[in-house]
């Protein structure tokens, strides 16, 4: 967890409370993954590690509240690609483990080993991507200068920074994510069910 001194987000909200309900919300790749991917059971059954149950439960409920409140949903093109990458990786891991693969999963190596299955896997991934696109508006083309400026002032990685920069440029500072790194972006409002992030925000007076 990041240090309290690096918490720069304007406000942090516990999304489980349902309040406030923003008019517009930007969705991070982890939320898209928890809500739109159905094979966590299979992943666990073959020896992989699915996300914690609270994540699928709480972010599913948060998305339901947002959609019922007619909240406009956004994500960035970069985030959509990240989502596609995560889903592809998990589908590859399932195929690899079902074929007897054990131990640490090496994405690039397995992708090369299972190249014959990639076309089918990517067809699957694109169905999930379509489902995301039905409910979100895609913002940005990637804006390198803006992203680098936001990245420089944060503790997040370049993907997070691209999403934060796109959200701020679009004038939608409310972001739904389980990633505590978003605490380190100035001017963002982080909506999260990540208890450690919530506790940290509370400790520095930024909660709610």
């Amino acid at each position: 967890m990041i240090a309290a001194a690096h918490v720069r987000a304007a406000r942090v909200f516990d999304v489980r409370t349902g309040k406030p309900q923003p008019e517009a919300l930007v969705l991070d790749a982890n939320v898209l993954f928890f809500v739109h991917y159905p094979s966590f059971g299979t992943l666990a059954a073959v020896g992989g590690e699915p996300p914690s149950v609270y994540r699928t439960r709480e972010y599913g409920a948060a998305l339901k509240r947002a959609l019922r409140a007619k909240t406009r949903l956004f994500t960035s093109a970069t985030t959509l690609l990240e989502f596609a990458h995560i889903v592809e990786k998990v589908e590859l891991e399932i195929s690899w483990r079902k074929a007897g693969g054990q131990g640490a999963f090496e994405y690039k190596q397995v992708r090369e080993q299972l190249a014959a299955q990639l076309e089918e896997i990517r067809k699957t991934v694109l169905v999930y991507v379509s489902a995301v696109r039905k409910i979100t508006t895609i913002i940005e083309a990637l804006h390198a200068e803006g992203t680098l400026a936001v990245w420089r002032g944060s503790c997040g990685d370049t993907s997070d920074s691209a999403l934060a920069a796109a959200a701020l440029r679009e004038g939608v500072p409310d972001l739904l994510s389980d990633d505590a790194d978003f605490l380190t972006y100035r001017d963002l409002h982080l909506f999260t069910a990540n208890q450690a992030a919530i506790d940290l925000a509370k400790s520095v007076g930024r909660l709610g």
Binding site: H36, A45, V46, V53, Y54, G60, R68
Partner: protein, 113 residues
């Protein structure tokens, strides 16, 4: 027997807990009739995590041929039909796993709940 999902759940079908309610309802109706018609007309948003709980779980309760024969879906556009197809495939893959593998899942879920 028929279920109108928009009446039973609402226009927004994204929450796995709502999916579980749909599953329970379909299961109950299957106990009283030969066929269940599940009508998604009017549903504006559908996610795989909802369908996984609502429909995918049925493949763990009934033989594959029974689910495919006795449950009929209506009101899905082509994108949602594709999504349902993946959920079906995933459920078959999951319930085709060994009991030991599924035990591993149950333990993981308990640990992380």
């Amino acid at each position: 027997m028929a279920i109108r999902v928009v009446t039973f759940i609402g226009e927004v079908c994204v929450d796995p807990l709502d999916g579980r309610r749909l599953f329970e309802e379909i299961k109950a109706l299957l106990g009283t009739g030969e066929y269940v018609d599940v009508d998604f007309a009017g549903v504006t948003t559908l996610t795989s995590s909802f369908l996984n709980e609502g429909i995918g779980r049925l493949y763990g309760e009934l033989p594959l041929s029974d689910v495919d024969r006795r449950i009929r879906f209506h009101g899905l556009d082509s994108a949602d039909q594709s999504l349902l197809g993946l959920v079906r495939r995933n459920a078959i893959r999951y319930y085709g796993a060994s009991a030991v593998e599924r035990d591993a899942l149950a333990k993981l879920s308990d640990d992380k709940a």
